[in-house]
């Protein structure tokens, strides 16, 4: 809960403690009314906001065009699906429906546009459904190449970014220069570097920062101005090592499969309470996309495109030519000295569920225990996940 006196200050409240910072982030992360973003827009007259559907979105293009990129990533368990169920069938994942529901209930009216990406078939069709139902919204669909064995793919992606940039500039009235783009790249580089530090803290000292806390921090960051988010991150990185928390007897796991639809915070907490230190995960992968800084160079679009190909984390929706996905997961688990892998896929998420078939065999071959969980963003009760996780943890702790 937010503490007394914090609300009254300007955009991002002065945080009394890390706990209050995480409480603020938790509230922001689960707010289907986008209060923080709307307040920022009110304080910056003339500014517009662009929604970004998962997974990865080149937010720098939006920022450099003078607009605010926001993560529009479903509605969690905060709203009822009333209208979108009639548009998307029962076998389509929840995030597609809840994102449409946000639109159909006028909660996205404050946006200037929405960007969708070639991540899966439902997201692709959702983009069209948005275009038809919200004619005032700028709707763009970005094609991410999948032929990274060829140098052509990177070149092509740079031309795709040019197309998107032109479209954004038309809406914002500002055509960004290479310097503008590099400024935005540098800003987001700093954010991503901070997020990598946060994840490093979790890997090295998982008792100091729970996965649920790092999740709400990252998610809240997608719903505010990047400049403000950076301040929060700076604060967190300084304060976290001083936290007076003692380690517990828990198993160490790497979590995969939740790269798009957001798991309920309660589910992440349930896993942790059941006895897991989650050293690494793929929550909000798209907002942390790069493993190192995007280089600042004369042609920023080429730098972003090249980085998409060469400096990205592995993802179920990017068909990498660098290493087979399953082999990569095994290497990651070993690097993190994990005892086990939790594969936590959103229900009906085909990319994740297909990956699981490959992962399962590789994990069995490597003799790394794993737990498969399916979730939906709208879930409230985690009793079943709790008992499965507890059984799993016990089998490892007392093996």
């Amino acid at each position: 809960m937010r503490k007394e006196g914090i609300v009254a200050t300007t955009l991002i409240p002065e945080m009394v403690s890390l706990d209050s910072l995480f409480a603020f982030c938790r509230e922001t992360a689960q707010d289907p009314e986008f209060t923080v973003a709307k307040r920022w827009l009110a304080e910056h007259p003339g500014k517009k906001a662009i929604g970004c559907f998962p997974i990865y979105c080149p937010v720098e293009l939006i920022h450099a065009s003078g607009m605010l990129p926001l993560g529009i990533i479903g509605a969690g368990n905060q709203i009822e699906i009333t209208f979108a169920d009639a548009r998307f069938q029962s076998f389509v994942c929840s995030i597609v429906k809840s994102t449409l529901e946000l639109g159909l209930t006028n909660r996205l009216k404050f946006l200037e546009g929405m960007l969708f990406h070639s991540i899966c078939d439902p997201a692709r069709n959702l983009s069209s459904v948005f275009e038809r139902n919200f004619p005032d919204l700028l709707v763009e669909y970005i094609h991410f190449p999948q032929n990274f064995a060829s140098p052509l793919a990177r070149q092509y992606l740079a031309t795709e970014y040019r197309r998107i940039l032109d479209s954004l500039a038309q809406r914002s009235g500002h055509r960004p220069t290479p310097d503008d783009l590099n400024y935005s790249i540098e800003l987001y580089n700093r954010i991503r570097a901070r997020l990598r530090e946060i994840y490093q803290i979790r890997t090295e000292t998982p008792h100091l920062l729970s996965a649920a806390e790092s999740f709400v921090l990252t998610r809240a960051g997608t719903l505010m101005a990047p400049e403000d988010f950076l301040k929060l991150l700076d604060r967190a990185v300084v304060d976290l090592p001083r936290r007076p928390i003692r380690p517990k007897d828990r198993i160490r796991v790497v979590l995969e499969g939740s790269f798009c639809e957001l798991p309920p915070v309660g589910l992440i907490e349930t896993l942790e309470e059941a006895g897991c230190y989650i050293l690494d995960d793929d929550f909000l992968r798209g907002w942390r996309w790069f493993t190192e800084d995007v280089p600042l160079q004369e042609n920023p679009l080429a730098a972003l495109a090249e980085s998409y190909s060469e400096r990205a984390y592995y993802s179920g929706t990017k068909h990498d030519s660098r290493e087979a996905k399953a082999a990569h997961l095994i290497r990651l688990a070993k690097e993190k000295k994990a005892d086990a892998v939790v594969f936590q896929a959103a229900k009906f998420c085909e990319p994740a569920l297909f990956d699981y078939a490959l992962y399962r065999k590789a994990l069995e071959d490597a003799k790394i225990p794993h737990l498969l969980l399916e979730f939906e963003e709208k879930t409230w009760s985690f009793d079943r996940a709790r008992s499965e996780a507890e059984t799993f943890v016990e089998s490892l702790l007392f093996d």
Partner: protein
């Protein structure tokens, strides 16, 4: 009123011709599997460069066609279950599961032994599942893979951009290099031109056949009978045999049209069908419509591998560019949902349809995700009576016959009632 069951199999001459030709195609696959034949190139049905494969005398293998054959022959369920045992989800595309199940069952089917791939050519045309399907086949077979990345036709312009076309043509050139290395010979450009010409003529005839369905009665069912013609269109496109099949098919259909012969004794309702058919229960599904005198005059499924009825032709003067345009623009799979709405609207208008039937399949979310919005558009904005029903294209567990029949009956009863009201 619905009438018992109508005779709903296509009984013309080309039915047997098709059987013979596809039988020969499968014999080639078996020969390749036994190392007596050509090199096997795995590919997807949607816009693909089969012309290049034929130019190198290699044989295309289509896992989608194999999967659907398994479903038609009622062999799919045990294979799907075997894949689920391996870790595939009940929510994954059942084409993939049946194919992977078959792969690990020794690649033996009632119709052929499927060869191991010499090259996995993933023509990524719209469907994201394609990428994962072929990624998995690569993991299991260890064969080389080439992802031919086709930018989705996502803009509001009439044509894909020059950058899109250029990007695909350049990749086709990379593919040619791979095929040259595999075959040890250079591409014979004139041979490619000839093959592309055959594809162009085949497409033209297929287009003519489809346009015959604008007549009343339509000489064939543009959903259930089209699927019979789709096998030669995909497996034999770019060959003399394939062209011959379509010459014969056109003659037969033209004659039927001239004689005013339709697939049913009486054509009461003309419908547009959207979505793939339920292969495990094709006959039962067809009968649900036949008993109401409902005939498909157009279908989107018959355009997954190519849309020719609006004028596209492969062009021997520009072989690579026309292959690229076929992959980018002239197939249903690579088009966005709103382009599909427009395509269906054209069918409703120009093929004079009374209604739209949407068969929503769980396996293929590319086809189905969002079809509720499609129904909304056609019923509310265009006033086209629309039926939305659900089952699956491969997994027999999702076919609930009684439920489907009730929905179909209620729909046509209402249509009939409306007609009576209008008449009186």
């Amino acid at each position: 009123m619905a009438q018992g069951t109508a005779k709903t199999d296509y009984q013309g001459r080309i039915h047997n011709l098709q059987k013979d030709m596809i039988g020969r195609y499968y014999s080639r696959l078996t020969a390749a599997a036994e190392n007596k034949g050509e090199k096997a190139i795995y590919m997807l049905i949607s816009g693909n460069p089969v012309e290049l494969i034929e130019a190198f005398d290699m044989i295309p293998v289509y896992p989608e066609v194999n999967a659907l054959q398994l479903a038609v022959k009622k062999q799919s369920l045990p294979l799907i279950l075997a894949a689920e045992e391996m870790g595939y989800s009940t929510d994954n595309c059942a084409y993939v599961k049946a194919d992977i199940g078959m792969y690990f069952a020794g690649r033996k089917t009632p119709f052929a032994t499927i060869p191991e791939p010499d090259l996995i050519l993933c023509n990524y045309v719209g469907c994201n599942v394609y990428l994962q399907w072929f990624e998995h086949l690569k993991e299991y077979s260890k064969a080389p893979i080439y992802n031919l990345d086709v930018p989705f036709f996502r803009t509001r312009s009439e044509d894909p951009s020059e950058e899109d076309v250029h990007y695909v043509v350049k990749q086709l050139e990379e593919l040619i290099e791979i095929l040259e290395r595999m075959s040890g010979k250079k591409l014979d450009y004139q041979k490619l031109q000839h093959i592309v010409e055959l594809s162009g003529e085949t497409g033209a005839l297929w287009s003519e056949i489809k346009r015959l369905a604008r007549q009343r009665p339509t000489p064939f069912d543009a959903y259930f009978d089209s699927v019979m013609m789709m096998a030669p269109l995909y497996c034999l496109r770019g060959t003399e045999d394939g062209l011959w099949f379509f010459q014969e098919a056109y003659k037969e259909m033209k004659q039927r049209a001239d004689n005013r012969e339709g697939p049913l004794s009486e054509e009461k309702f003309r419908v547009v069908m959207e979505g793939p058919p339920p292969w495990p229960y094709l006959r039962q599904f067809r009968d649900m419509f036949s008993r109401w005198g409902a005939v498909a005059v157009a279908s989107t499924y018959s355009t997954v591998g190519g849309i020719w009825e609006f004028g596209f032709r492969h062009d021997p003067q520009h072989p690579l560019e026309s292959i690229a345009r076929h992959m980018l623009q002239w197939n249903l799979t690579n088009r966005n949902f709103l382009q599909r709405y427009r395509q269906i609207k054209e069918y409703v208008d120009d093929w004079a349809a009374d209604a739209l039937v949407i068969h929503s399949v769980k396996s293929c979310r590319l086809f189905s995700a969002g079809q509720g919005d499609m129904r909304e558009y056609f019923t509310k904005q265009l006033n086209v009576p629309t039926l939305l029903i659900e089952s699956d294209l491969e997994d027999p567990r999702y076919f609930s016959e009684a439920q489907l029949r009730n929905r179909v009956d209620a729909f046509f009863e209402a249509l009939e009632h409306q007609r009576m009201l209008v008449k009186s």
